[in-house]
């Protein structure tokens, strides 16, 4: 069974540009989570999608947005990039069991560098 896949692995952008990151969840998983991890730090919750809808978002500005497609894959868009957006962006998927969030399966991440 294929795991969570993220693309691209690395992305270099210039300040002010837009970045698009992609995530394909494990087959059968309807929930997709996005996290930002700055170098050496913990994971900051960005967004949670389930069944095609945004269910929750973390404390990030509106220039961080995304969507989930009918096949449950997801896209994270970051507009007007700033230097401090440089980080590892992690996507995870999970099945929803009886409305509960259970274990999440992570992709290997996209390393975004803003120069």
């Amino acid at each position: 069974e294929a795991g969570v896949t993220q693309s691209p692995t690395h992305l270099i952008k210039t300040r002010g540009q837009q970045a698009t990151l992609r995530c394909s969840p494990i087959s059968g998983h309807t929930s997709v989570y996005w996290y930002q991890q700055a170098l050496g730090l913990g994971l900051q919750f960005l967004l949670w999608y389930d069944e095609g809808e945004e269910r929750n978002r973390g404390n990030f500005p509106p220039r961080f947005s995304g969507r989930q497609f009918p096949n449950y894959s997801s896209e994270l868009n970051v507009n007007a990039l700033e230097l401090e957006d440089s980080a590892l962006y992690l996507c995870a998927s999970s099945p929803r069991k009886q409305g509960m969030i259970t274990e999440a399966f992570f992709g290997q991440g996209t390393r975004l560098t803003v120069v």
């Binding site: 509960m100 259970t102 274990e103």
Partner: protein, 111 residues
Amino acid sequence: SQQGEEDPQALSIQEGENATMNCSYKTSINNLQWYRQNSGRGLVHLILIRSNEREKHSGRLRVTLDTSKKSSSLLITASRAADTASYFCATVETGRRALIFGSGTRLQVQP
């Protein structure tokens, strides 16, 4: 925002010793999970403990949960060099639709 705080931030032990990491959180939870991250890549789920459970085992891992103190501990017994990684606790807050991670403990196991 981060729900949990891990303690210690960093831990260095010798192979064969036990490693204990602690996690404290702030609100009521549905469950608490522990994850491992190698070299800044994807996280791997280790174990999940529900709010009505007090202890859980999985191989060399033992997790405890004290909801009255809002804390959890992860014990790795007979550690190996391959256990070197960062370990994170994550909580699902009651009524909140998010899996929130703590700040992590960096474990170094010396061969």
